[in-house]
């Protein structure tokens, strides 16, 4: 495999609250190759957005990285100075936020916002040149150049999201993190945006971390897939293989939560119960209270994420001989 652009090692990140520390990302490790498309799936509150913000070093005031490493192009970002992070952010890694509707400044033309990004990072670039580049980027995401001086409210939801993608790509970064970029959009618009991202990724060879709860979409578009539950990755591997043969009971439950468009319609069940409170996570495996296949050992210790096959990892005692 090609060189790894991002290596996350034992990352622990979360929030300080009045009720104690909340570890939204708990001892998480994975790596991302250049040009690779990794999907991260999980329910609300599983820590997937915290992970994204931690990688970008954009956690809110009460959020912090407690321990671990985020190695991006060989450099550990944890503990880096703010000024260095600022220089690198957007230039080398950028982010497309969930609600494009709110991510753009409503009182500035989109041309001004795109020019702003370039002037902040490329000292001395002329407005004329920056505008030219902005127009090129808009063209890449299929927005007519005459919309360059439009205000955000004059664009549809899908167009705003494409402007965000153009903005994320404008400095030609190596990594783009997309946090539910299509969740608020209609299926047809979503499909157009996904196709655009795929096309641009092949053209410009950037890596993508794509975060969503829409597993059916993620399976279709990702190279590899990480399933998160309550701050942990509980299954990791090639997307198609996970879809065909999910191992972890939680992944199986998720796969049983969306009926197919075509093919047989059996009973679909979902997963009873609700995710645990991360301020008081259950002892042992975090899925223990909802798991159909739980065993005695499961509430004693969280199972490690171990290899269960080729490029395949699962954190479940069912695949560790039932004991350790």
């Amino acid at each position: 495999m090609a060189e790894n652009i991002l290596e996350i090692k034992h990352l622990v990140a979360g929030y300080e609250t009045r009720l104690g520390s909340l570890l939204a990302v708990d001892d998480l490790s994975f790596s991302l190759a250049k040009g690779e498309f990794i999907g991260i799936a999980g329910e609300s509150g599983c820590g997937k957005s915290t992970l994204a913000y931690a990688i970008m070093s954009l956690l809110e005031d009460n959020g912090m990285i407690f321990s671990g490493e985020i190695n991006f192009k060989g450099k550990n970002l944890v503990g880096l100075k703010k000024a260095d992070l600022k220089k690198m952010r957007w230039d080398q890694m950028s982010m497309v936020f969930q609600s494009a509707m709110n991510a753009l400044n409503p009182v500035l033309k989109i041309s001004d916002q795109l020019v702003d990004v370039m002037q902040a990072h490329q000292k001395g670039i002329s407005v004329k040149k920056a505008r030219q580049k902005a127009a090129e980027m808009l063209e890449l995401v299929d927005i007519p150049v005459d919309r360059l001086d439009a205000y955000p409210h004059q664009l549809s939801g899908g167009m705003k999201q494409r402007v965000m993608i153009a903005m994320a790509m404008i400095l030609n970064p190596d990594l783009i993190i997309m946090d539910e970029p299509t969740t608020a959009l209609d299926v047809v618009v979503q499909r157009n945006i996904i196709k655009k991202i795929e096309e641009l990724r092949i053209k410009f060879d950037f890596s993508v971390i794509f975060i969503t709860h829409d597993l059916s979409l993620l399976v279709e578009i990702s190279d590899r897939l990480a399933i998160m539950y309550a701050g942990k990755i509980i299954e990791f591997g090639q997307a198609q293989r996970i879809y065909e043969q999910p191992e972890h009971p939680y992944t199986k439950g998720l796969m049983n939560s969306f009926p197919p468009l075509l093919g047989d319609l059996e009973e679909f069940g979902g997963i009873p119960g609700k995710p645990p409170d991360l301020l008081k996570p259950p002892a042992g495996c975090r899925f223990y209270p909802r798991c159909e296949k739980r065993m005695d050992i499961c509430h004693q210790k969280m199972p490690d994420l171990i290899n269960t096959g080729q490029e395949r990892q699962t954190a479940c005692y069912l695949y560790q001989g039932g004991h350790k």
Partner: protein, 322 residues
């Protein structure tokens, strides 16, 4: 088939656009919408945002009076029957489940006070009986043991639990028809099937009919007997669920199908069959409303509004090219 419980005949809903210099314009939220719903049937209404799905539900719920057309419920035109202002008789029979479980419940009230109101307003239980009734309905939606939930406030429950309370509130008055407006779209994936199965259960056990609004085609296929596809305020196709998915006739239904995620297929295979955005409903396109995006459209489609025609028994399509 037996008598339909609900029938819409040529219903139109136009909202005036207010604002400076824009007088007399209207948004054509619904035009020529006709369909019927049988007792105990689940009809899924699918379409993109702005296609008029929610307006359809609101018109049936008597939250908006339609501009024209008739809505017949149980043999009576709901806008012509003599009734007091609140029309409790109709509201007891037709209930609604909203999309946002967090917004649909008053945050300052306990579950008890939220759920006792329907019983008291509709005089279905006395003050003494009401607690037992609330507990009964909480058990029906799977919030067990009910003592644990009855004195909680909405913020103490998860989205899935709140949506169960919403369903409990709707079914507590023994309705005949439930209008469910995207009841699962704001819930976590693992909870969605549980809510959908619950909706099916109340149909099977209580014979409740549903108008189930969704934008998720696969979900519609799972839950519904029939699927109706709306686009830009008009009904484009309606027929048996399996047939609409597998053998769609209307180009718009085909577009929706091609856009839906299909994990069983690889990424490369899905090709979109049309481009563009949904048109403005202030000045809707002449002729067929889909002609601006339709790959099969020709000059005729720009001028003639196609009729909703029966292609097969029980399957109607609004397209000149079919």
């Amino acid at each position: 088939m037996s008598d339909p419980i609900l029938e819409l005949k040529d219903v139109a809903m136009h909202f005036p656009v207010s604002g400076f210099g824009r007088s007399k314009q209207v948004v054509h939220a619904m035009d020529q919408v006709s369909f019927s719903l049988q007792r105990g049937e689940i009809l899924a209404l699918v379409g993109e945002s702005g296609s008029g799905k929610t307006t359809t539900a609101k018109v049936i719920a008597k939250l908006h009076q339609p501009t024209s057309g008739e809505i017949i419920f149980n043999g009576e035109n709901i806008y012509q029957r003599k009734t007091n202002k609140r029309d409790l008789g109709y509201r007891k029979n037709v209930q609604m489940i909203f999309q946002d479980p967090f917004g649909a419940l008053n945050p300052t009230h306990t579950i008890r006070s939220i759920l006792e109101r329907p019983f008291l307003i509709h005089k279905l239980a006395s003050r003494e009986q009401v607690e037992a009734k609330i507990k009964e309905v909480l058990v029906q939606v799977g919030l067990e043991p009910p003592e644990q939930f009855i004195d909680k406030f909405p913020h103490e429950l998860s989205g899935g639990q709140l949506q169960r309370v919403n369903i409990a509130r709707a079914i507590s008055v023994d309705p005949i028809l439930l209008l469910a407006d995207e009841p699962t779209s704001m819930l976590d994936v693992s909870i969605r099937m549980i809510i959908m199965n619950m909706i099916k259960k109340f149909r099977d056990e209580e014979g409740i009919s549903y108008l189930y609004i969704t934008h998720n085609l696969a979900g519609a296929r799972y839950i519904a007997d029939r699927i109706a596809v709306m686009y830009a305020g008009m009904m484009m196709e309606i027929g048996p669920a399996e047939e609409v998915i597998q053998k769609a006739y209307h180009p718009y239904t085909k577009l929706l199908r091609s856009a839906a995620p299909q994990p069983e297929k690889g990424f490369q295979e899905s090709e979109l069959t049309a481009k563009g955005d949904i048109p403005s409903l202030v000045n809707p396109p002449t002729g067929c409303r889909f002609h601006t995006r339709c790959p099969q459209a020709d000059a005729e489609c720009k001028e003639l509004i196609p009729e909703l025609r029966e292609i097969k028994p029980g399957h109607q399509v609004r397209c000149l090219k079919v």
